[in-house]
């Protein structure tokens, strides 16, 4: 670099400004703080080159990714593949996906299966940026390729996903949450979306705060919850969508991992985001026009105001349910692949208490979905909560009670909850989505 100060760029070339400052981006991978994080995620190429680390700078963990590659390679030689290492409180979980290796190193109580599910979500996030076609082709041509060159700028989405997977039960449950809303209002919105259906449009949806308001889809193509999580993560992972109409390619791997769809993304109120997804990359203006029509129609029947109000409210409280002794619950409708859960009231509005509750839910979930011996009912008393896990052909329930509740009171209360959900079903869930 020249000594002439007038030539020195404001931002030094060595540290090119990427517009995104990570919370733990400068942590030294040799430091105590770095090691102390409860859950690390690493993504590397099969050559051992680092692609992503949840904490710190990935180019500085290249020693670790080398070790990972060496371990994987050792087992590959014996025509075996490593799945998990248990070391004290830590679990090392491996997911090998062709040219990509994904590793979770965790001292949370999450099970091997739960952690591997999370690695699959991260893998899908990478596919959503590249498609599997492109990913395969790159590494077929150049196995030494430094994939950061192509993924540059998408780090916030991986970071956001990593955080969401710890905070939201939808990932563990493989389902999504809908905004609780009066059925008539939801139907009205759906019928307005129907106005803009065309051959350019594959999916249309309104979402607010990572919850689905309504979805319009072709009769033959439903939408997988894993793809919806990617869509939510995209919208939630970048603030740019809030400030403009956007047009972005996105691969939805469960729909088709070989190609891109194209998403028109626009916030139509402070909280409510409209997505119009097309198979055609040249339809921005058509879809932008469609948005104008939707907004106009929603405004003229006062629905826009109503959606915004609903989306601003924080959901419902456990008191609305009226089940004695019930503190919190997660209910998944297996048929609709949707779940519902009340807001986190005291004591669970405290992040620490909330994490503790999640820990109990995760433990129960894992016990019930054990591959060796799956359970229908699981009753667990911890010093602070009693957790009921209950799976039938139609639902999956995780409910938290006080530690001293009797079994009969717990049973009564659970039945009250189920009755309430049945009564509220059409407002809590999208029972029939709009199709065309």
């Amino acid at each position: 670099m020249s000594n002439d100060h007038s030539n020195v760029p404001v931002i030094s070339v060595d540290e090119e400004y990427s517009g995104y400052r990570r919370k733990y981006g400068h942590e030294d991978p040799q430091s105590v703080n770095w090691c102390r994080h409860r859950k690390h995620f690493f993504i590397l190429s099969s050559a051992g080159k680092p692609i992503y680390t949840r904490y710190g700078d990935e180019s500085r963990i290249s020693g670790y990714t080398g070790v990972i590659q060496a371990i994987v390679s050792f087992f590959v030689d014996a025509e075996d593949s490593i799945r998990c290492i248990n070391a004290g409180n830590h679990k090392f979980v491996f997911l090998l996906k062709g040219p990509l290796y994904l590793v979770a190193v965790s001292r949370t109580n999450e099970s091997e299966t739960q952690l591997r599910d999370q690695l699959n979500y991260l893998y899908n996030q990478i596919l959503s940026v590249l498609t599997s076609t492109q990913l395969t082709r790159i590494f077929e041509q150049r196995i030494n390729y430094d994939l950061r060159l192509l993924l540059g700028g998408t780090e916030p989405f991986l970071d956001n996903l990593a955080t969401s997977m710890s905070d939201e039960p939808g990932f563990m449950l493989g389902s999504i949450q809908c905004v609780r809303m009066n059925k008539e209002l939801r139907d009205k919105i759906g019928s307005i979306l129907q106005i803009v259906k065309s051959k350019d449009l594959l999916y249309a949806m309104l979402i607010a705060n990572n919850k689905l308001i309504t979805l319009l889809r072709p009769k033959r193509h439903s939408l997988h919850s894993a793809d919806l999580h990617l869509i939510f993560n995209m919208v939630n992972g970048s603030s740019t969508f809030r400030s403009a109409e956007s047009w972005t390619p996105i691969c939805l791997p469960k729909f088709n991992n070989k190609g891109f769809l194209h998403a028109y993304v626009c916030y139509i109120t402070g909280n409510v985001c409209l997505l119009l997804i097309s198979p055609d990359k040249d339809k921005f203006f058509e879809l932008s026009d469609a948005k104008s029509i939707i907004v106009e129609e929603l405004t003229s029947c006062n629905a826009l105001q109503a959606i915004e109000e609903v989306s601003q409210s924080e959901g419902y409280s456990i008191a609305d349910v009226g089940a004695a002794g019930l503190r919190h619950f997660i209910y998944k409708s297996r048929k609709h692949v949707q779940y519902t859960s009340p807001t986190f009231m005291a004591p669970y509005n405290d992040p620490h208490e909330k994490q503790k509750l999640f820990k109990l839910y995760r433990y129960t979930h894992d016990r019930m979905h054990s591959r060796i011996r799956p359970l229908k009912v699981h009753y667990y008393v911890s010093p602070t909560e009693t957790i009921l896990g209950w799976i039938t052909s139609t639902f999956e329930l995780y409910a938290a009670f006080g530690p001293l509740i009797s079994k009969s009171a717990l049973t009564n209360s659970s039945h009250t909850l189920l009755k309430w959900i049945k009564k509220e079903e059409e407002n809590l869930f999208i029972l029939n989505s709009q199709v065309f």
Binding site: G66, V67, Q141, R148, P279
Partner: protein, 206 residues
């Protein structure tokens, strides 16, 4: 993933046990030398950032075990290397004669796309020892390097830090040439044809 200009290169160091692979790496990365010999078990990894032609390059250096009993890391281990460094001890004839098999072994296991032009660098180490102990002449080493497609050759001393910096600069530079920017950006996959798509899956019920 911060900067587009950053690139990481995988460099593998091979050679007989005791020729000074770990010492060279330590001298280069940590500017340290120890006379104590410790066999490398499996592999060691070190990282160093260097500038090559205005480009910030992270070198991921894979120091391997020379002793056969620790060489059990499997064929996938060498995969995707950007450069391979072959090290011998100029005072040890056998360590020079095995360079051929190290090179062959690498080409078989790493199976690079263009083996003829894959970048190797040869280092003749321990030139700090007295001349009378020298077993391989510079001329002989250079002839071998020429016959293998003009491999760059350096005579080094990890102990006295002779030529180490220089050699690794060449290693980085040659490795970087492997990294020529292929144009993947325009390689847009085919659009999805919706009507042909009849995939069935466990879908969201909504």
């Amino acid at each position: 993933m911060a900067s587009r200009k950053k690139v990481l290169l995988k460099v593998i160091i091979l050679g007989d046990s005791g020729v000074g692979k770990t010492s060279l790496m330590n001298q280069y990365v940590n500017k340290k030398f120890s006379t104590q010999y410790k066999a490398t078990i499996g592999a060691d990894f070190l990282t160093k950032e260097v500038m090559v032609d205005d480009r910030l390059v992270t070198m991921q250096i894979w120091d391997t075990a020379g002793q056969e009993r620790f060489q059990s890391l499997g064929v996938a281990f060498y995969r995707g290397a950007d450069c391979c460094v072959l090290v011998y001890d100029v005072n040890n004839n056998k360590s020079f004669e095995t360079l051929d098999s190290w090179r062959d072994e690498f080409l078989i296991q790493a199976s690079p796309r263009d083996p003829e032009n894959f970048p190797f660098v040869v280092l003749g180490n321990k030139i700090d020892m007295e001349e009378s102990k020298r077993a391989v002449s510079q001329k002989r080493a250079m002839t071998w390097c020429q016959s293998k497609g003009n491999i760059p050759y350096f005579e080094t001393s990890a102990k006295e830090a002779i030529n180490v910096e220089n050699a690794f600069q060449t290693i980085a530079k040659n490795a970087l040439q492997q990294e020529t920017d292929a144009d993947f950006y325009n390689d847009f996959p085919d659009p999805i044809k919706i009507d042909n798509d009849t995939s069935k899956y466990d879908s969201c019920g909504c």
